[in-house]
Symmetry: C3
Subunit: 124 residues, 3 copies
């Protein structure tokens, strides 16, 4: 999901500000990169290499201790550290001040439960 | 160390703000994830795989050039990049606006010298 | 490039504030770490291991789907996720509030086109 235009929810534009956007959940990421489907398929494969899904809980066979809590989403907690929790974006003249190819994305690595993103704007 | 409740140091609550928390040291991280001991043991093992400790300074045998400065903490500078330097957290109605499972952690990858975390709050 | 002293561009110091510095480009990073040349050579080698350059577009042989767009910089989009897009630094008494060894760096992973960094300061 690209949320490049979420600033339109502002009734009265904030002119000079910072906008924080963060995942409120610890198996998810908000980050900025390219809006190109091949790249996102590349990320998917790459993150699976760096932190493979394994429902097991024995580190000797590739499992995660975290999964002894009854979860099977330990890999998601790892993938989120690579991609990051949050972005802070400048607002100038009432608009998100993004570079020409910057798009904001939300990645969900777990997929369970209802999820929320927090957007906070501080400024004038 | 979980510092979820560090906002209580505010005498007069800041009602609508952003709170920056960052490690002031370059071999440490402040990040947000789950307060579950198994996960933190998983992170420890995972970071050691991605950036192994090696006191040597010869890249051909797994060492780091940085260790030619007399340090042996090059791996710590790498681990910190994976986990991140800082978090920015919204403050709403005088409280840190965290998701249900979000906890703030400080990781120390080197362990030498006295360390500090910076907390800065900007808002109303 | 270390930009530790970029706050000097302020004519009138901002006394109590947050300073956002971010790459405006999605194959670049702004991050904080040590100003030591060996470490940066180590990062270069490490990032190449984690996300190797490959101009190809066949994942089966180490290529990236993103390169089917005519680019050959998919690895740069991956390296930037490890090193991060942005830093948020406190400003106290009119100066960047950095730890003793903190320096701000810009990494360019692609090298093409003219690039810009955004610096935004919000505060009093």
């Amino acid at each position: 999901m690209s949320v490049r235009s979420f600033y339109r929810i502002q009734q009265k534009p904030v002119c000079n500000a910072m906008c924080l956007g963060n995942a409120m959940h610890i198996t998810a990421s908000v980050f900025i990169n390219d809006n190109e489907s091949g790249l996102h398929a590349d990320y998917d494969r790459w993150l699976e290499q760096l932190a493979p899904f394994d429902a097991g809980s024995d580190p000797a066979t590739g499992g995660y201790l975290h999964n002894r809590t009854g979860e099977d989403n330990a890999d998601a907690h790892h993938k989120r550290q690579i991609m990051g929790r949050e972005v802070v974006v400048a607002i100038t003249d009432g608009r998100l001040h993004l570079g020409p190819w910057e798009h904001i994305f939300y990645y969900e690595f777990d997929g369970r439960r209802r999820k929320r993103i927090l957007v906070k704007i501080i400024g004038e």
